[in-house]
Structures are given as structure tokens and as C-alpha cells.
Symmetry: C2
Subunit: 312 residues, 2 copies
């Protein structure tokens, strides 16, 4: 019987320009680590959180990593007591799926620690419960790619219908994380409740186009499809210098560039690692010119999903 596990779950880019609330992909880094230890004391206790500047609640019912564990214990009738550590190794309020990474790492870790052999569909539902605490809404476009790895389409909900989309090997992602914070719920509140049918048609043309481009390895089509006429226009002003940063990405060879999740992180996709690096440098320089600082991550699409770093 194992007594301790450490699991890493990675950051994810959601929305992906034309796929608002329905698409996301996983990147190699950054990510969060969750430690779970069997404890003689019943229930779930979060004993340590690092990297959060003391801002995350230790009450497991209010914590994105704690809630999935409590639900799993209740629904599966487990008697095991758990001690949990959460090591945030990525910024939150970044648009990179920080809460999803913690929720997925926790659910995945408990499954592996106790050898529960739950299906991914089951683990997804537990992780969504954690995600809901952070974002206030049920959406799976970060938890699904964090749990499944790769590029995922969430066709619909009730129940979540996750479709894995093969992406061309050479697709690289550049992520720029400017050193500011945007709350998901604030960013969501900017969205209109209704949108013009004309814009909706443009968006579903591009959503369908992106899936076709990825599955057909048609880079030009991927590029033409990476447009957002719904969320990006109302969120641009939240990110100083966004237009210049996007322009820099496109001028340096990116296939497309938009806001990651609800921002402020900005992602670009490129058709090679070399281009992705050049694009990253150009995006970074554009950010610097606005007077902000930030971090750049260049990564292939992470096809692995969560990783067990340690188990004993």
C-alpha cells in the first residue's frame, strides 16, 4: 500500500481564439504539484500551500485541490484520512488554468495513490468540481486538457463530451505571461449575454476550421482560423500592449495569437520550435515597451497529461 504521492499537472491554454469555452490544450510548463499523504486522522487536511502568497484557502471545501478529494472520499465511501500539500508553481489569475492544474493534480494523485482505477471521465467530473470553486462556473476547457493531455475539444456538457484532437508534431506554443493579474470572474463578466448572429457564424466557422486544420495538418488553415470575434475584442483593454504584442507575434511568423483563457497570458502558435522562440522574444520585447515585465514559455503541446513525480 502506497503512503505518499507527488503529482505534477500542467498549465493549459483555453479558448484558443475561436474556441471559447470548448477548446484547450496542455503545455509542458509551468504547472502545479500536489502532494498527498495517507494520514491516521480521517478527512482531508491541507497542511501546506506554497507559491500562493498566502492567498489560497486551507479549508478543503473552498480549495480547488481540496474539493475534488472530499467529493471522491464521500462518493466512493473511502475511510482514508489525507494530508495534502499544494505547491503553486505558476501564477494564478494568469489565464493559464492554474486552478484546473491543482484540481486535476489532486484528483489524479488520489486515484493513483489508492489505485482506484477511475476512468478519465470520472476523474474529470471530480476535477470540474474543484475548478468550479475558482471560476464560479462549470467549464472543462482547462481541466480536460490538463487531465487528458494534448488538445481537447469539449463538444458539450451534460455529461462533458471530451474529444481528443491530434495536433501536428511541429506545432509549438509560445506563452507570454505579463506580470499583472485578471480575475476569471471579472473577465467573464465583460462578455455580453447575447452576440450578433453574424459574429456567432464567424466564430463557429473558425472553430470548425481550426479542428479541420489540426486534423488535416493544414498550417495555413490553422492560422486563418485563429481569430476571435467574441471574447478578445471585449477583453483586449485588460492587457496593456495587447495589440502590439499580437502584432509582434504575427509579424515574426506565428500562425495566430490571442488571449489565453481569460488572460492576461497571451499565447501564439507556430509551425516550428525555432519560430516559436523568435515569436516569444518579439512578444517579450513588445511587452517591455509597455513598461511591464513578464515571463515567456515555449513548449510543444504536452501530450502526457499529469505526471507522477514520486510515489512510495
Amino acid at each position: 500500500m502506497n503512503r505518499e504521492i507527488i503529482v505534477f499537472a500542467s498549465a493549459t491554454v483555453s479558448n484558443i481564439a475561436c474556441g471559447f469555452d470548448i477548446m484547450g490544450f496542455s503545455i509542458n510548463r509551468p504547472g502545479d504539484e500536489v502532494v498527498i499523504r495517507i494520514s491516521p486522522e480521517p478527512g482531508v487536511r491541507i497542511v501546506k500551500i506554497t507559491g500562493d502568497d498566502g492567498r489560497l484557502p486551507k479549508d478543503p471545501l473552498k480549495n480547488t485541490a481540496g474539493k475534488p478529494l472530499i467529493s471522491m472520499i464521500e462518493k466512493l465511501g473511502l475511510k482514508t484520512g489525507l494530508e495534502v500539500e499544494i505547491h503553486k508553481k505558476m501564477p494564478f489569475g494568469s489565464g493559464l488554468g492554474s486552478s484546473a492544474a491543482s484540481a486535476v493534480a489532486a484528483a489524479f494523485a488520489l486515484d493513483r495513490l489508492l489505485e482506484l482505477n477511475l476512468s478519465r471521465e470520472e476523474l474529470l467530473l471530480y476535477a470540474i468540481e474543484g475548478e468550479k470553486i475558482a471560476s464560479g462556473s462549470v467549464h472543462a476547457d482547462n481541466v480536460a486538457p490538463a487531465l487528458y493531455g494534448g488538445f481537447t475539444l469539449i463538444r458539450g456538457y451534460n455529461p462533458p463530451d471530451v474529444v481528443e484532437i491530434d495536433v501536428p508534431e511541429n506545432i509549438y506554443c509560445t506563452v507570454l505571461h505579463p506580470d499583472i493579474e485578471i480575475s476569471t470572474s471579472e473577465s467573464r463578466s465583460l462578455l455580453p449575454r447575447e452576440i450578433p448572429l453574424k459574429n456567432a457564424i464567424t466564430q463557429w466557422g473558425n472553430a470548425a476550421g481550426l479542428i479541420a486544420g489540426l486534423l488535416k495538418s493544414d498550417y495555413a488553415l490553422i492560422g486563418r482560423s485563429l481569430q476571435d470575434v467574441v471574447a478578445e475584442p471585449v477583453r483586449t483593454h485588460l492587457i496593456p500592449g495587447f495589440k502590439e504584442i499580437k502584432k509582434a507575434a504575427l509579424e515574426n511568423g506565428a500562425l495566430g495569437c490571442s488571449i489565453s483563457g481569460s488572460g492576461p497570458a497571451i499565447f501564439a502558435l507556430s509551425a516550428s520550435g525555432g519560430t516559436a522562440s523568435i515569436v516569444g522574444e518579439a512578444m517579450y520585447q513588445a511587452l517591455i515597451r509597455t513598461g511591464l515585465s513578464g515571463e515567456i514559455f515555449v513548449s510543444q503541446i504536452n501530450r502526457e497529461g499529469p505526471k507522477v513525480l514520486y510515489i512510495k
Copy 2:
């Protein structure tokens, strides 16, 4: 030098539940035939129209087959005089792309007759001009599949971005054409100018899902994606017995069922020819029970596009 050509262009199913204004596919029959003959008299003269009960204009500028020909002659600086016959072999106002079939047949016929070697992209633009006369709006979800054959996604316009989507061999289409007529412009006027963001998200999840299902040959995913929360709900009442006909299709094994174009034709997709026939019979019986009559067509996806029936 050729002097006469006869071209067949087929009916098309557009919208396809989740792909309003962006998707369409071609079926084997019915379709229209257009005859073009070189004439010593300059200009375009429509000398004969059959199958239209005298309702289509013979003025080539007001005719969906005439307009593309006039535009081609003008833009390409052709001196050739043309005599045109149009044989409508499918109902118009049916939702099966009747005007698109005539426009495509005409443009394609002139290209082959004079060996102009225009690209499909060029022919598409001429055909769209013809389609615009009938529908009052620029859309390509019937002309593109009629011209390219197969299943097409129109990712966007300016210029039209047509993406050919491979469909699984075994996909069969059942079309029921009830003996009533709906005008495209009237059917379009029922659509709201704005739609709830929630519904738009559902629709683009399904649009992306359908493309993924087709390209991955995932029949269950195709079925789950064939849902329309935008156009079908406001158009259902135009087609007596629609709900019962759809129910009959689904209960008899269809993957999905919805309105073809702006109706009244109803299409269903099935995973085999046998199922498509059974589905057709069930749909037909449900139609009969409403007191209407109609026609059933069962067909694979037509991969050929327009066909030259005669050239000399």
C-alpha cells in the same frame, strides 16, 4: 471547338444542423441540368426553362444560371454568344440548393465548353453571384458543395475559404422533401439578429464536434454533434409534422436529423445504406400521417461535383 454542352449539378444539403451558413454536402440526386450552345448572336439568351412551372425569369440578369454567365463573359472579355436551356429537375424553395445547382451547372458548363480552365475558386465566385439573386444574401454553403462535391466547410468569406472535409465511406444521407414550399428569404427572416452566447457556444461546440467526428470517422460523435439550437427551433413550425418525422428518423437508427437548408426538406445521416433506407421509409410514413405527401431520396455523399452529360 465545342459547340454544345450539357452539365448536371446536384442538390446539396446545407446547415447540417450545427453548421448554419458554414457547411454543406452534395448528394447524388436530384439535380438540375443546364445546356449551353454557342450562338452567332452575341450575349446570353435563355431560350428554354423546364420544370419551373413558368416561374423562373428568362432575363439572364435575374436568373441564377444567367447571371454567372454574364459575369464570366464580361470579366473575361469573351465575345461568344450563348443560348442557354435550364432544366429544373428538383423542386425549388425546397431547401436543397436548387438555385445553387443551376448557378454551378451554368458556370461549370461555360468553363468546360470554352476550355477556360478557371480554378474552382474563380468558378465559385461566379456561382455565388447567381446564388445571390435567389437568396438575397452572399452565402456559399450550397454552391461550394455543389461545385466541389463532397462535404465542404466554408470557414469564412472575403474571400470564401472552402475546406474539403473527407467523410467516412459509409455515411448515407436520407432526404425527405415534403410537398410544400418555403421561401429562403422568408425562412431567413425568422432568425434572430442576436443569439444568447450560451447557445452560440453550444453551436460552435457541435460544429467543431461534427468536423472532428467526420475526420476521425467517429459515428457516435457525428450523431452527438448533429444538433441545432439556432435555426431549427425557430423554423420547425414551418414544416408540419417535423418533430414526428425527426423522431421517426432517430428511432430507426439515424445518427441525426434536421432541416436541410431553410427547409422544408429534412435530412438524416446514417452509418449505412440499409439504415438510410429504413430511416427514409419511417420518415415518409410520419409525413403521410400529417396528411402531406412528398419524396424520399437516399444517397451517399456525392464526391464528384458537377458532371458533363454531353459535349460536342
